[in-house]
Symmetry: C2
Subunit: 141 residues, 2 copies
């Protein structure tokens, strides 16, 4: 049941919320934009409005159920928050995303912030690169 997570977040268990959470659970491998979520829900019998998708994703973010990322390109993408933090490598050619976590970097960040007299809240580290997958449009060079 998805219900529990939603209820725990203090939100009413509605069909749109159940379906969006379900969908995110089915795509833990991808990072979905609001538009992506909206389109994936379109065939799915009862329709969910785009505004609702945005609202629900934002609420899920506040509730700690999903994470939002702002990669280049202007639109936010979302993924289920499965607890552990990770950062991202994004292929500039095909958009493929890989995740990683590096404790050396994480620790350095904390040190730097402390030295500067800040209190670290969160961070975004995105490595833009060219991947080497066979189906990547720019795998040459």
């Amino acid at each position: 049941m998805d219900d529990l997570e939603i209820r725990k977040a203090g939100l009413k268990v509605t069909l749109p919320r159940i379906k969006i959470l379900e969908l995110l659970r089915e795509h833990t491998d991808r990072h979905l934009s609001a538009e992506d979520v909206y389109k994936l829900l379109i065939g799915c019998e009862s329709d969910v409005g785009l505004a609702t998708v945005y609202r629900v994703l934002t609420q899920f973010e506040s509730a700690g159920l999903v994470k939002r990322h702002n990669f280049e390109g202007g639109q936010s993408v979302f993924e289920l928050d499965r607890g552990g933090h990770h950062d991202h490598i994004v292929c500039l050619d095909c958009g493929h995303v890989e995740e990683f976590i590096d404790e050396v970097i994480e620790k350095r960040q904390r040190t730097i912030v402390k030295e500067k007299g800040f209190a670290l809240e969160k961070h975004a580290l995105i490595l833009y690169a060219h991947c080497s997958r066979g189906n990547c449009p720019n795998r040459n060079r």
Copy 2:
């Protein structure tokens, strides 16, 4: 003369371009949005259109004269590219930005990317934190 840099970039030396570059040189301490640049140029006798500001900033970016950053908040900010790379700490309360460079982190990034079979092109590391400046609205807690 600002003219040289602009001409070297293969761009015609026009008044808007001179003024925008000048303005960025006067504000190396800040990170300006296109809107910021536009407003700062408004009093300044001859008017520069907002579309031109966007166009010129994008051209300067391609020419390596300025760097664009996408901090949280949806709008791009720009700063003069003075050669050396650096990353950013952004105060979530007052928007104050501090810059830093950490060779340990830079090196780890290169290692990680290589391990994953990518070719690193660039990266964005932004630490979101709470600063400790007296005039910061949320300096408490």
